[in-house]
Symmetry: C2
Subunit: 196 residues, 2 copies
DNA sequence: CTTTGCATGTAAACCGTTACATGATTTT
DNA sequence: AAAATCATGTAACGGTTTACATGCAAAG
């Protein structure tokens, strides 16, 4: 078991982006390796903030070189495994970000809503079917929240973190709202179609 | 005089992405120049599918070279202005996309929810204040939907397009739901804090 | 003994944003 | 006359995803 301290080059700024804070936060929640961070993210933040392994590993290296994380190496056959922990500097950076006044606007790119926006180019029956598919998709997401995300969040609560459960509840409630909205709208569309 | 090859070689496919369909759809709704497309998008699809001018202009050129749009040039001083219209091929491509079975999952990146997810690192009073700021932000978005997006959508309805109004209604209702949820959650958090 | 899961990384492609550059027209 | 808005584009940068490359360990 080797110990690797922070490699700090004096003078370089090392800008932290939202994904950096995601990584810091996941480490804080107990995910100590890149793989563990990815796995935890996939059952918690995935829906509103996805991240890929090709982002996680370089980000961990960056954060370690900036002194926000410390790495512990563990030889494992021919291959090396690394475990990370928050430094005081990392904790401070995370809290400072959480306390920042400015709330960044959500960046979403929802192709399905774009399709609904342009659905006039479709025969009405096709539009009704499409809206029902959107409803079903929202119900699926709601189920995923309830059956996978929420239980995972409960497990984290044992360690004192209630944020994950809050967000899981919010997600489930939101998808339920969307599903109900789409269900009502599909019916409304269908009634309108029968009048003509 | 050098040889100038075909703008679109016979074998290359010209892949259409969601932003391509956004552009096609905006032209279909009556926005005939790049600038007009951008302006219309900013008061309609912006919240769930933003687009920049640096995407619109090259995309228009691409779609025209692929035969999905036809361009009409209009000399205007030293500068040229271009107006676009859908071709039959463009209309077909748009409808085919709208009819595709598979609904792509929404790609959102919401920093504010990530902050809520990690809010345990914050003193409770700060978290309550943060949730109330999220609530206010959602109310602002709801107002924007009601006061800017919805009226613009009503104007489009005169031309027979009801998709824009539907999506504007959905957006306003969704932001209202979020605002109410955050309001309730902030109160819940505050009560919980007073018990300790 | 083969598939699945654990585990770490790099390279290239893709897509989108910000900044830059230019010019015409309308409004104040 | 200046400022704002209409209008069209390009260049550079940055962040994310997909594909690639490798190897260990457990379970079927």
């Amino acid at each position: 078991m080797g110990f690797v301290g922070p490699i700090q080059a004096a003078g370089d700024p090392l800008k932290l982006r939202p994904s950096s804070y995601l990584v810091l936060g996941m480490v804080r929640l107990g995910a100590r390796s890149g793989y563990a961070i990815k796995k935890l993210a996939d059952t918690s933040t995935r829906v509103f903030f996805p991240i890929s392994l090709a982002q996680v590993y370089p980000e961990l290296a960056r954060l370690q070189s900036g002194g926000f994380l410390v790495r512990t190496d563990d030889a494992h056959g021919r291959r090396n495994r690394s475990f990370y922990a928050l430094t005081e500097s990392g904790e401070r950076a995370l809290v400072a970000w959480l306390q920042s006044e400015r709330i960044a606007p959500a960046r979403s790119r929802d192709e399905s809503l774009l399709r609904l926006f342009l659905a006039d180019a479709l025969p009405q029956e096709d539009e009704v079917a499409y809206v029902r598919r959107m409803r079903d998709r929202a119900r699926d997401s709601q189920e995923w929240m309830r059956n996978a995300v929420f239980p995972a969040a409960r497990a984290l609560e044992a360690g004192g973190a209630h944020g994950p459960r809050t967000v899981a509840r919010f997600g489930a409630d939101l998808f339920e709202f969307v599903a109900d909205w789409m269900d009502r709208y599909a019916d409304e569309l269908e009634r309108r179609g029968k009048d003509t």
